[in-house]
């Protein structure tokens, strides 16, 4: 039943093309301007990232190399006072430093006088004696043999020498005499930089040349393992219940609001909560990955619940209907259809939550994970520290050599974050199904 349209009432068409043409130019200009705003914003972001990376890499790349001095060493057991290499007491009492001291004297024979010798001995790392002990223990055939060992140099020497190679030596922490010796060693080819194994294999140390990142890496891995093991199942269960089973009423609305609020709570509050609940009430020991994991779980739960719910919501209702129509029970619908389809989104959310947790420092400061820990944690119950806290500790240390360590640790942390985010993108691309 269409209304009859009267021909007479129709107005004569006017020619708008001139007006439109005039406005076109303005519209195109506005569009170009708008496009440029976007480009400028992206350029600004990229520039910021570039500055960050250039700065960190230029500061931190030095930490991956370290200065070593070639010292002749004779493992004279008689002089060390060691008769049995398996007797730990004898090994502990022996004067291992004497090994490299005599070697250094041999290397630079004209050094005389007590203070000059002390300066000479300070050229190599404090831990060099222990390194030699470990070397002999691992290789008993070296007993009473002579060999040339590349010992790691003291951090001040290391900083000076690396600066020297770059043409900009930092002389404030080395004496004139040491500079002369370094020149002498350099012309003899007895000093060089080499790959810094300590950095990758050791825990923290007061001596920069002995300090490594591995303790913090292991601490982070243990902590994140706990965080993932707790927050993923709990978060996903909560999300499934809220999306699929919970009735819509005031109570569930209240829960939803609180989860969203929880995601916005400053992370240090979670640290205080962990301190109050886990340490003071439940008596969990401080500084251990289990505790760190528990606190970070509290922090990442809201993120995982929110992303998981979004992933569940994105599953088309037609799939649920199809399964219900086939006589699947509610839990079969969820288990067979909703979960597999939502899993990529859930995993992506979980990984992003984990990346957040990996970079988190504040809550861990509250629960004693800021401690100076030399040993590499071997279990969930060993005292540990984590990467960002290690960065914080090194940035706070007065020794100049820690500057490059700090930047290097940041590079390691960024490396892990990039790997995790790439994995998240990859999982999403890989598992994404179309329907």
């Amino acid at each position: 039943m269409t209304e009859p349209t009267s021909q007479a009432a129709r107005p004569t068409p006017t020619d708008h093309s001139a007006t439109i043409k005039a406005s076109l130019k303005r519209r195109y200009r506005a569009e170009t301007r708008f496009r440029w705003y976007g480009r400028i914003a992206i350029a600004f972001g990229l520039a910021a990232v570039l500055v960050l990376f250039v700065d960190i890499i230029s500061k931190g790349h030095g930490a991956f190399k370290t200065t070593h001095i070639a010292v002749p060493v004779e493992y004279d057991l008689a002089q060390l006072g060691v008769r049995d290499l398996n007797d730990n007491q004898q090994l502990a009492l022996a004067d291992w430093d004497a090994l490299f001291k005599s070697g250094l004297r041999e290397l630079l024979p004209d050094v005389s006088g007590r203070s000059a010798r002390r300066e000479l001995y300070r050229m190599v790392s404090n831990g060099a004696g222990y390194d030699l002990k470990d070397r002999l223990q691992a290789n008993p055939r070296l007993a009473n043999q002579r060999e040339q060992v590349w010992l790691s140099a003291d951090d001040d020497i290391d900083t000076y020498f690396k600066g020297l190679l770059d043409g900009d030596p930092y002389t404030a922490r080395v004496t004139e005499q040491q500079i002369e010796w370094i020149d002498e060693l350099r012309s003899a080819g007895q000093i060089r930089t080499q790959w810094n194994r300590n950095f990758w294999t050791r825990g923290d140390s007061r001596e920069p040349e002995q300090a490594g990142i591995w303790g913090a890496v292991m601490g982070s891995l243990f902590t994140l393992a706990i965080t993932f093991a707790l927050s993923f199942p709990i978060g996903v269960s909560a999300a499934i219940y809220l999306e699929e089973f919970a009735p819509r009423n005031r109570f569930t609305d209240f829960i939803e609001i609180n989860i969203n609020n929880l995601a916005a709570v400053p992370s240090i509050i979670f640290g205080l909560l962990g301190l109050a609940i886990f340490i003071n009430f439940f008596g969990v020991p401080r500084s251990i990955p289990i505790l760190g994991g528990l606190v970070l779980t509290l922090m990442t739960l809201p993120t995982i619940i929110i992303t998981s719910r979004a992933a569940i919501k994105a599953v088309p209702p037609s799939i649920r209907e199809a399964a219900l129509g086939m006589g699947a029970s509610k839990h079969q619908v969820v288990l067979h259809h909703v979960l597999p389809l939502a899993m990529p989104g859930m995993l992506t959310g979980a990984i992003i939550g984990m990346a957040q947790a990996l970079g988190e420092t504040a809550p861990l400061l509250m629960i004693g994970m800021v401690a100076f820990i030399v040993d590499i944690p071997q279990a969930f119950t060993d005292p540990a520290t984590v990467l960002p806290v290690q960065i914080f500790l090194w940035a706070d240390s007065p020794e100049r050599a820690f500057v490059e360590k700090t930047s290097a640790a940041i590079m390691v942390l960024l490396g892990f974050l990039i790997i995790m985010n790439t994995t998240a993108v990859w999982i999403r691309k890989r598992l994404e199904r179309r329907w």
Binding site: M1, R248, P316, S318, I319, R320, E321, A322, A323, L324, G325, M326, G327, A328, S329, Q332, H336, H337, L341, R433, R434, W435
Partner: protein
């Protein structure tokens, strides 16, 4: 378009509402969405091996009514069904009746083809698997093949059973959904506008299929296409604003409708 006020909506349905060999029988069914009533006092029988078409203008409640027959309305919050709906004499809304068992007996095909994002094989095998209908892998293979054959899809997909069902064309997907529904050997199949998302050729295939299926199954189909109702159904029910206006053998409905509202609809005066 609203109808004129001088044609009041009757409270009584006309025609042959009842069937001697009724598979499903509905008596005085009222359905509510919250405070809003969608279906008023509908009484209707669907006979054994009958194809019952339900037609009517948009929003007349025919889909709501269809969905109450396997309690898919349960999933909609605030939906309430009052009245008797029985299948072989058993009350479907009895608190003792298990809805999972009911849906295994009353299958459903939806408006938009909605195969699971799994392989063709797994789509068809899903029902038998969850209900434990297949004793062995061989059994399952047999069920899948026979279901696909009954849905006249076997020849098109037999070489790619393990490819995703979502990769098929729209018409094939809908036939896959039908194969999936008949794999559990239901007694009644409900179809909610099964061809509205399909092109004419795919539609023709589905219609042919419905005719074949009616030999073994009881079918209730909601459709917007009167030609389709005329082609595939034995009886046609005309719904208007939540009321069942007329039920009669299809031929009669389309040639000499008993009620003037039905006549108005099929002659295209409103819709």
């Amino acid at each position: 378009m609203a109808i004129n006020n001088d044609r009041p909506i009757p409270t009584q349905s006309v025609g042959a509402q009842f069937h001697d060999n009724a598979r499903m029988s509905m008596r005085d069914v009222n359905i509510f969405y919250g405070d809003k009533q969608a279906i008023f006092d509908v009484s209707l029988d669907i006979g054994q091996n009958e194809v019952m078409a339900m037609i009517g203008p948009s929003g007349c409640g025919k889909s709501t009514f269809l969905r109450s027959l396997n309690r898919m309305n349960d999933t909609i919050e605030g939906c309430r069904v009052v009245g008797d709906i029985a299948m072989d004499g058993q009350d479907l809304y009895d608190s003792k009746l298990d809805v999972v068992e009911l849906r295994a007996r009353v299958g459903m095909v939806f408006q938009k083809p909605n195969p699971f994002p799994k392989s063709i094989y797994d789509n068809v095998a899903y029902g038998p698997k969850i209900h434990g209908l297949a004793e062995s892998r061989v059994d399952l293979d047999e069920i899948v093949e026979s279901s696909l054959r009954k849905a006249s899809l076997w020849n098109e997909v037999k070489d790619r059973l393990h490819q995703p069902g979502t990769g098929l064309s729209g018409g094939q997907q809908q036939r896959l959904c039908i194969a999936r529904a008949i794999a559990v050997n239901p007694e009644v199949i409900l179809m909610d506008e099964p061809c509205s998302a399909l092109d004419p050729i795919a539609t023709a295939k589905i219609e042919e299929l419905i005719e074949e299926l009616s030999e073994n199954f009881t079918i209730a189909i909601v459709t917007h296409s009167m030609q389709q109702a005329a082609r595939v159904s034995h009886r046609t029910a005309y719904f208007h604003l939540g009321r069942l206006i007329e039920v009669n053998p299809t031929e009669q409905v389309f040639t000499m409708p008993e009620h003037e509202l039905t006549e108005g609809y099929i002659t295209g005066r409103f819709g």
